[in-house]
């Protein structure tokens, strides 16, 4: 029980506060993995010895500091591995840290539904439940070969191990978030394709600006359309080259949108998500002989500077200004 899974209770839309809170954790250990938008995993193996307290006590310290410094409460789960820490987190509440004791993994898992296991998605969970393997205890008891017949060789083996409480995961230190999202909700059922495109244009512009602000490029763009009945459609597209160029993002977003061919669908929101973020300096860029591309990028640079100076609405496409 040396891994902590911390979930900060941030007010919505305050993703920006996460890096500071991660800094707080890094005072205890350098091995901190961010779980955007509001969580983190921390490996306290060294810290326990250094501070002379065990993980649960450290958890209290972390909570007190987060409250004192940032006024943010947090919920903490502790366990021998990242998976168990995450699962423990679900039982925890502010002020009560849930810890999975070493050696008690199997008992901890046995009564839980399969869907609670990280890495078991709805599809796998449905398959397992269909065959009566609805709790992790039953999964652990089932023969490995049967599990592999059910969900495939690799998944089956992993599932079998995890259900036994074998947690092979590690905390991998990383930087800030690996994806960015821009959400455009509509106030009513929106059918008008023009307004949809306008929303996409502004979302892609926002994503581009945010990426450029942190000097990142994205490899993949994902469009999620939410409908009035709360269902959604998701489409993803890998870009030709990793980029933060708004025009390229917009083009990709439009392509995905057109491919849906929506007519009467009652759209309640459009979300664009930039995924696979990598540092901008590592990105390659295909040069062309067309001077237009070059110009557009330079204008974007200028516009970014203007925005930095006069606010985000200082420069924007004409169709959005109306």
């Amino acid at each position: 029980m040396t891994i902590l899974c911390v979930r900060f209770q941030l007010p919505p839309m305050c993703e920006a506060a996460l890096p500071e809170l991660l800094g707080l954790l890094e005072e205890f250990t350098p091995v901190v993995e961010a779980l955007p938008p509001d969580g983190a995993l921390a490996d306290l193996r060294g810290a326990e010895r250094y501070f002379g307290r065990d993980a649960v006590e450290l958890a209290s310290v972390i909570r007190v500091r987060a409250l004192a410094l940032y006024g943010v409460d947090c919920v903490i789960g502790a366990g021998p591995g990242p998976m168990l820490a995450r699962m423990a987190l679900r039982d925890a509440r502010p002020g009560l840290t849930r810890a999975v004791p070493g050696g008690g993994e199997r008992e901890f898992l046995a009564g839980r539904p399969v869907a609670a296991l990280p890495g078991v998605g709805t599809a796998t969970a449905r398959t397992l439940c269909e065959y009566g393997l609805d709790t992790l205890g039953r999964v652990a008891a089932a023969p490995l070969s049967t599990l592999q017949r059910l969900v495939g060789a690799k998944t089956g083996r992993e599932l079998h191990e995890r259900a036994q409480g074998v947690d092979r995961g590690r905390v991998v230190p990383n930087g800030v978030s690996r994806s960015l999202a821009a959400d455009r909700p509509f106030g009513r059922d929106e059918l008008d394709p023009d307004r949809h495109r306008r929303a996409l244009l502004s979302a892609a512009g926002e994503l581009g600006a945010r990426l450029r602000a942190v000097d990142k490029v994205c490899r993949t763009l994902t469009l999620t359309v939410r409908y009035a009945d709360r269902s959604g459609t998701t489409r993803s597209r890998t870009l030709k080259e990793p980029t933060a160029h708004s025009a390229a993002l917009t083009r990709a977003a439009y392509d995905m949108y057109e491919a849906l061919g929506l007519q009467r669908a009652r759209v309640r929101s459009l979300t664009l998500r930039a995924e696979g973020l990598t540092p901008a300096e590592q990105a390659s860029h295909q040069l062309t002989f067309d001077p237009v591309d070059e110009k557009v990028r330079r204008i974007e640079e200028v516009a970014d500077r203007a925005r930095a100076k006069f606010g985000p609405r200082a420069v924007m496409p004409g169709s959005l200004a109306a």
């Binding site: 393997l133 008008d192 061919g261 929506l262 669908a265």
Partner: protein, 1187 residues
């Protein structure tokens, strides 16, 4: 100022387009000083008859027309194909579906030259509906005589003008002119819109200018969609519902101007239009004059030209008359029937002959011989097909019908009267209804169409109108409300009229929560504010049309020129656009061919008996006095028997204790709202059991009243009484009887009755008392002919239940005729000792079958079991079921998979319910094997053979289904708890609570307070005599049925729970009315499923906490306050004592019927909730449940 005639007006019959009923339009036209009004509905003439009647009543001249979508002519086709190709290339939407295509131009047609115009109109409408998809009139069909054509803003010409292309408009006008010549008009419409689109001033003036230039006469119209100003919002909702999109508040909404404007407003419009077209202002007079002249030309008389009031029968040669007249043919067939049935050799043959001749005279008097021959022909054809057929209704009272083989029961023997059906005094069309097997009803339709041809036969339409639930759904969707929220709101309403939505919110206890929410929202700015306005605005507007389930029109060859006929969506039957009342007004002969599921069920039972035992049962020949059958009926365990299975009927047969066929006839007649309301039940039962003397007002009346202990039960008795007392003859007496339901004529009849009876020498007191009877029961009694026709299948089904129970249940479960869910029938079968055999792919058939379980041993006799059917498996297709049944037997799972080729989900379901248990015991392992077989089949690889040891499959170590999971699977897949009753699993908890089982309840004494529990089987709120709303519900707990009644003092606490729960726990007081008749008056109800959950999770303490919390609101009803309430039960007899219950707002809203009988406004509605509990909803879903 002279009136204005609106030439372009649509009513609500233009589904999801027009917002006012034809009656309202006619009414407003008169109020606004118009003397003529056209009705030009979209693609339909369905409103024409109602409109004609409304106009006749209001004093307006009706004009008839239709607005049709018209395909472009060849010359204009070039552009159109271009656009349509573009549309086809559009990508299929990933979600939400494609837009509704409304691109076809629309043109208004008005019938001009009487019958010729009407026929042309009918033909055009019929032709438009032959198009695939939405109605579209092809250019080839676009010609007719006697029509005036209005080319308005929606036509291709109007669109070209709107686009600023007068050249194109001129080119498009040419083909129209070629076809319609002088009858062509250009229609200018001004709705105050800006721009050049439809309804704009610029388009209107362009139209007028274009008309002058082209030498076509212009007319002015307002393209009316609703009667009154301010209904534009409703039109928006209708548009949204039609296009299946939400209202786009930023887009173009209805102008709000398309109402039935008066002459002044239209004159103003005319002036604005001509001025902006560049003419002098007085040119407006010319425009109005042209409009008036066009209206004046359109002369179609509803009586002469629509054929209202005339009668049209199929030609005699089609109904077997050959070259003789129909009357001659009828007479000879009747005489032949007399000989065939042997009535000419009976002692009372004179009576038969006389009656036959008298009836033939009446028929000849009206000229209805063809009608009788037509029906006889249909019945003969149906019988030749081997379909069970029976006549019902008053037609059974005619001896001629009996002789022709239409009616089964002998009217002379049963004392049925011809006059109730047809007499010289009666001028309306008689109707004969025939019942056929429901499963083969469409076959029968096809046979009738085959016999008479599509030019003479059509089914009848049945408009579906907006009621509250649909209105809420459509308005909510139009207003972009959350679908889940709309669903919740809509489902919480009972099936009431949309216009009562707000009143119901105020008054119904089960809607209280919703009402409070509405009020809260209303204060905060109104998410619901507009909703209720619009919901009420949609009230009773037609929203679609379906085929009437039983009416078939039979006419001569002129049918198609008198009614528009469209194909039905499913089967493609020809269907007249008029509904059943309209066709009667139009003088079209309607034959009701009802599909009766019980007939199908009995046919299946008989077929099963024959298949399994070789014994052939002739149901029509079973003895009418089988004591075992009556014993069963008297025990009131009549679940599944035709007509006597409802809770009320079970109660009634328990009290009435029928022992002869006549008793059954009386029983069926008594169980009608009327007799129950008029308190005929109690005196009858008292007299029958000798507790009250049989009384007659006069010994002359003893004969008609004898058979029913002096209580008037049948219409026939009233006819006889009136005929005897006044000597007026039965035909006249029947007319008098009909007049009794109208309070005005009742007064006149009273005087007339007293005069004539006095003249016949009856004393004043006798007359007084007789009149009392006639007045009280006259309008309520039941037609005995009906009752006799009903009692035949009632007796037959009861006989089957007693003598072939397994086959009987097999029939019931296959054709599901009753009011109860199938699982209840299954429970009943289990109670009656019929072994239920589980589903098995090697034994089950497509339909339910019977199987020999044990041979005759000792005195027990052979026991037949009921084998469940494949067709009950959820999601099985007919083809799959047949394939499985054909391939039997299967040696192994692989064999089954390869030969029966079930779909993967279906195979999984079969495994879950144990249909594959023969191939390996563990159902989950079977599932896994199936999945792998499926994968193997898909991937084309067979590298892993999942089978070992041939027949059985190898175990895979998965946990098998637990017993609870098996039951859950049965409920989910078969909607039946096949292996045991689902309540069995809750026994422990019910014992803890001290719940009384249905079986033990029979011994409970009157007035005892008990707890009962069970799965809800049926819930009704029928009208009862005290005018209160009572919720009746039936629970099934495995040992029997418990009938519950909730009176309105308990509604606040119980109504919502009772309507919206599947498993109920009820506290109530036992009410006894006889040895076999008892019910429980509920005072508190809980959702048992919730309590079970609490019991499982929190133990008994949790249950106690729950009961304590809920109990508070249920206090205030002491069981001893019972007598008053008991009296309210209606069938108990005495009227409710005044002031027994607190005055509530209902008092003012009671529906007072003409006869003084009061009805609760919300009675007799299908209640909210989703009917009886079926399927998996009865079962908690544990996370490990199968599937």
């Amino acid at each position: 100022m002279p009136g204005f005639t609106h030439l372009h007006t649509v009513s609500g019959f233009s589904a999801r387009y027009g917002a006012s009923h034809p009656e309202r339009l006619a009414e407003r036209a008169v109020e606004r000083g118009m003397d003529a009004l056209a009705l030009t509905d979209r693609d339909t003439l369905a409103g024409a008859v109602r409109f004609a009647k409304a106009c006749a009543g209001a004093g307006v001249r009706p004009l008839f027309g239709a607005e049709l979508a018209v395909a472009a002519s060849e010359s204009g086709a070039a552009d159109r194909t271009e656009t349509s190709v573009r549309r086809d290339r559009r990508r299929a939407p990933a979600r939400g579906g494609a837009f509704v295509d409304e691109s076809a131009p629309r043109v208004t047609y008005l019938a001009r030259d009487g019958a010729r115009g009407w026929a042309g109109l009918c033909r055009l409408v019929s032709a438009a509906h032959t198009a695939e998809g939405t109605p579209l009139l092809s250019w080839a069909d676009n010609h007719a005589d006697g029509l005036t054509v209005l080319l308005g803003p929606g036509s291709d010409v109007g669109r070209a003008l709107a686009a600023g292309r007068p050249d194109r408009a001129a080119r498009l006008l040419a083909p129209w002119r070629e076809v319609y010549g002088d009858a062509l008009r250009l229609e200018a419409v001004w709705h105050g819109r800006t721009g050049t689109g439809p309804g704009s001033l610029r388009l209107a003036s362009r139209t007028v200018g274009f008309a002058a230039e082209q030498g076509v006469r212009p007319v002015l119209s307002n393209a009316v969609r609703y009667a009154d100003p301010g209904q534009g919002r409703v039109a928006d909702v209708l548009d949204a519902a039609r296009r299946l999109v939400p209202i786009d508040v930023t887009g173009e909404l209805d102008s709000g101007e398309a109402w039935l404007k008066d002459a002044g407003a239209m004159r103003h419009a005319a002036e604005r239009i001509v001025e902006s077209a560049g003419f002098r202002r007085d040119t407006a007079d010319r425009l109005l004059e042209q409009t008036r002249a066009t209206a004046a030309e359109c002369l179609v008389d509803p009586e002469d030209d629509l054929g209202m009031g005339a009668v049209h029968f199929p030609e005699p040669h089609l109904v077997g008359a050959g070259r003789r007249t129909a009357q001659r043919a009828l007479a000879s067939r009747a005489a032949a029937g007399m000989v065939r049935r042997g009535y000419d050799r009976r002692p009372g043959r004179r009576a038969y002959w006389e009656r036959m001749h008298r009836e033939l005279d009446i028929i000849a008097h009206h000229g209805f011989a063809s009608y009788f021959l037509t029906v006889a022909q249909v019945v003969d054809d149906v019988r030749h097909m081997g379909v069970r057929v029976a006549a019902r209704g008053s037609g059974a009272g005619s001896l001629v019908n009996h002789l022709l083989g239409i009616a089964h029961a002998d009217p002379v023997e049963h004392g049925l009267l011809m006059e109730r059906f047809l007499s010289k005094e009666r001028v309306v069309l008689p109707d004969i209804d025939i019942d056929v097997e429901s499963a083969r009803r469409l076959e029968v339709y096809r046979a009738i169409i085959g016999r008479f041809g599509t030019e003479r036969v059509a089914t009848v339409a049945m408009p579906e109108t907006y009621r509250v639930r649909h209105a809420i759904r459509d308005v909510g969707a139009a207003l972009s409300m959350d679908p889940a929220e709309i669903d919740r709101v809509a489902k919480s309403f009972p099936h009431i009229r949309a216009r009562d939505a707000r009143a119901a919110l105020e008054e119904l206890p089960e809607l209280r929560e919703l009402a409070e929410e509405t009020r809260r929202e209303g204060r905060e700015g109104g998410r619901y504010g507009r909703l209720w306005d619009l919901v009420e605005g949609l009230d009773a507007l037609p929203r679609g049309v379906a085929m009437h389930p039983c009416g078939v029109l039979l006419s001569d060859a002129s049918l198609l020129s008198r009614t528009p006929v469209v194909p039905t969506s499913g089967e493609g039957f020809p269907m007249a656009q008029f509904d059943k009342d309209d066709v009667e007004d139009l003088g079209l002969l309607k034959l009701d061919v009802l599909g009766v599921r019980m007939q199908s069920a009995m046919a299946h039972a008989v077929a099963e008996v024959e298949r399994a035992t070789g014994e052939r049962v002739d149901l029509d020949a079973v003895p009418e006095d089988d004591p075992a059958t009556y014993r069963m009926i008297r025990s009131a365990e009549t679940l599944g028997c035709f007509q006597i299975e409802s809770p009320g009927q079970r109660d009634l047969v328990g009290r009435l204790q029928p022992s002869t066929f006549h008793d059954l006839v009386v029983d069926i007649s008594l169980f009608r709202p009327g007799p129950v309301a008029a308190d005929m039940v109690r005196p009858f039962i008292e007299a029958r059991h000798g507790r009250a003397p049989v009384r007659h007002p006069h010994e002359d009346l003893a004969e008609p009243l004898e058979s029913t202990y002096g209580v008037v039960v049948f219409h026939e008795q009233i006819i006889d009484i009136v005929a005897i007392m006044t000597g007026c003859g039965r035909g006249e007496a029947d007319r008098v009887r009909r007049g009794l339901s109208d309070p005005e004529s009742q007064g006149r009849i009273k005087v007339w009755f007293a005069q004539h009876a006095a003249a016949r020498g009856y004393d004043a007191e006798t007359i007084q008392r007789t009149w009392g009877i006639v007045e009280a029961f006259g309008s309520y009694g039941f037609c005995k002919a009906h009752a006799v026709a009903f009692a035949v299948p009632t007796y037959q089904s009861a006989w089957l239940k007693v003598h072939h129970p397994a086959a009987f249940y097999a029939g019931l479960l296959t054709h599901d005729p009753g009011m109860y869910p199938k699982r209840l029938l299954l429970a009943d079968a289990r109670r009656r000792g019929v072994p239920i055999l589980p589903l098995d792919v090697n034994a089950s058939g497509v339909a339910h079958r019977i199987e020999l379980v044990s041979e005759a041993r000792r005195s027990k006799g052979t026991v037949w079991g009921l084998r469940l059917a494949l067709s009950d498996v959820h999601g099985i297709s007919e083809a799959e079921a047949e394939r499985i049944a054909e391939g039997q037997p299967y040696a192994s799972l692989l064999d089954f998979w390869e030969r029966a080729r079930p779909s993967r989900p279906l195979a999984g379901r079969l495994a879950q319910v144990g249909a594959l248990d023969a191939f390996g015991a563990n159902r989950r392992d079977l599932q896994l094997h199936l999945t792998e077989l499926h994968r193997g089949a898909r991937g084309g690889r067979g590298d892993q053979l999942p089978l070992s040891g041939g027949r059985k499959t190898a175990p895979a170590g998965l946990p098998d289904l637990t017993s609870a999971e098996r039951l859950s699977a049965e409920l989910g897949v078969l909607s039946m708890d096949a292996s045991r009753n689902l309540m069995d699993d809750h026994r422990t908890f019910l014992r803890e609570l001290g719940v009384v089982s249905a079986k033990r309840l029979r011994e409970a004494r009157h007035g005892e307070t008990v707890l009962v529990a069970g799965a809800k089987a049926a819930t009704q709120t029928p009208p009862i005599r005290s005018g209160r709303r009572v919720i009746f519900s039936t629970l099934d707990d495995g040992t029997g049925l418990v009938d519950l009644a909730f009176f309105d003092d308990s509604h606040d606490a119980c109504a919502h729970t009772v309507f919206h729960s599947w498993l109920l726990l009820v506290r109530g007081v036992v009410q006894r009315r006889g040895p076999r008749s008892f019910s429980v008056v509920g005072s508190a109800a809980w959702n048992l499923a919730d309590l079970l959950e609490v019991r499982r999770e929190e133990g008994l303490e949790g249950v106690a906490a729950r009961l304590a919390a809920a109990g508070g609101s249920q206090e205030g009803d002491d069981p001893e306050g019972g007598p008053a309430r008991r009296r309210l039960a209606g069938s108990d007899g005495r009227p409710a004592p005044a002031g027994s219950a607190a005055q509530d707002p209902m008092e003012q809203r009671r529906i007072r019927m003409s006869t003084g009988y009061e009805m609760h406004p919300w009675a007799d509605l299908r209640p909210a909730g989703e009917g009886p509990a079926v399927g998996r909803k009865l079962w908690h879903q544990s996370p490990g449940s199968a599937g």
